[in-house]
């Protein structure tokens, strides 16, 4: 039973997301459109499942919602900080730095989320992954203490992502 279910719905969350996106694209909720969205949400993951064979093992949507709220809040705070840096710190006093974040995460999906989070929170841009995927290269706009930035990324984002994909 569960095998048949996996065959039919290789990525259940993708199905739900596609149905919601379709309904939003229509910009008006009607039963027909929701059903059509669900049909698309079943057909598209089926058609593309050979390109995404390993789905993440565990995924906790509830924790993902909390994580999204934390990230949104951080984006707002960090935006103000960076706006202040842009307007007040002269180029000569700017202290950009490369930092290397050693990764405990192994899921490609989780690493992608972490890299995206780092780039979206202003002041840090994730630049590259090491060739075996054990560390992440991050560029910081202005910092006095690169190690503190690295530790914050690890405790604030990576730990939470580890618990989401547990």
């Amino acid at each position: 039973m569960s095998r048949a279910f996996q065959r039919l719905l290789p990525h259940p969350f993708l199905t739900v997301v596609l149905a919601i996106v379709w309904t939003l694209l229509q910009n008006d909720i009607s039963a027909g459109m929701v059903v059509f969205g669900l049909i698309l949400g079943i057909l598209i993951p089926l058609g593309t499942s050979i390109w995404w064979p390993d789905r993440p093992m565990g995924f906790r949507p509830g924790r993902m919602v909390i994580y999204s709220i934390i990230v949104l809040w951080d984006i707002i705070v960090a935006n103000l900080q960076v706006a202040w840096i842009v307007l007040t710190v002269p180029n000569a006093k700017l202290k950009p730095a490369w930092i290397v974040v050693p990764l405990d995460l192994r899921d490609p999906e989780a690493i992608t989320l972490l890299a995206g989070t780092i780039t979206l929170t202003p002041g840090t841009v994730s630049a590259d992954l090491s060739d075996e995927g054990h560390s992440l290269l991050v560029h910081v706009l202005h910092t006095d203490d690169p190690d503190a930035v690295r530790d914050e990324i690890k405790t604030r984002y990576e730990n939470r992502l580890e618990r989401i994909f547990a």
Binding site: V21, L24, L25, N27, I75, I76, N79, V82, A83, V86, L87, N91, L94, P96, W98, V100, P102, A115, G116, I118, T119, L120, P122, G123, V125, S126, A127, D128, L129, S130, D131, E132, G133, H134, S135, L137, H139, L141
Partner: protein
């Protein structure tokens, strides 16, 4: 004060905040001297700046009576794609050596973008010739 007046003021405030952040992003883009630090400016514009402008559009549509949630999709797609373009630009910057060279990774050989496949994989080389 009617709901419409409040809505109009809210739209104006969102537009002002959004355009202020876009302006700061552009100032940063012009001001910074090094391509890697310059990359930080567009990521700001992409998040708060555009987010606030879309928020204004959404509030306006609801005040005008024809609610629209398209903007949520624009925001979602923007948040998904913005890090990827930033990532690509960062990689080009590493290759062109425009700013300080990045430190070596502690555990692996090198960074993925500097890892040339033909140096450690003869298979790929053969396939290229075939």
């Amino acid at each position: 004060m009617t709901a419409e007046t409040i809505g109009t003021y809210a739209v104006a405030i969102f537009l002002l905040i959004g355009s202020a952040f876009v302006l700061i992003g552009v100032i940063g883009l012009l001001k910074f001297s090094d391509p890697m630090t310059r990359l930080h400016a567009p990521t700001k514009v992409g998040t708060i700046g555009i987010g606030m402008l879309l928020m204004a559009s959404m509030v306006h549509s609801f005040v005008a009576g024809e609610g629209s949630l398209h903007e949520l999709l624009i925001m979602a797609f923007l948040f998904v794609t913005a890090p990827i373009s930033a990532n690509f630009i960062a990689k080009v910057n590493i290759h062109q050596a425009v700013s300080d060279a990045p430190p070596r990774p502690p555990r692996d050989d090198t960074w993925a973008t500097l890892n040339s496949p033909d140096s450690d994989d003869e298979d790929l080389e053969n396939r290229g010739q075939a």
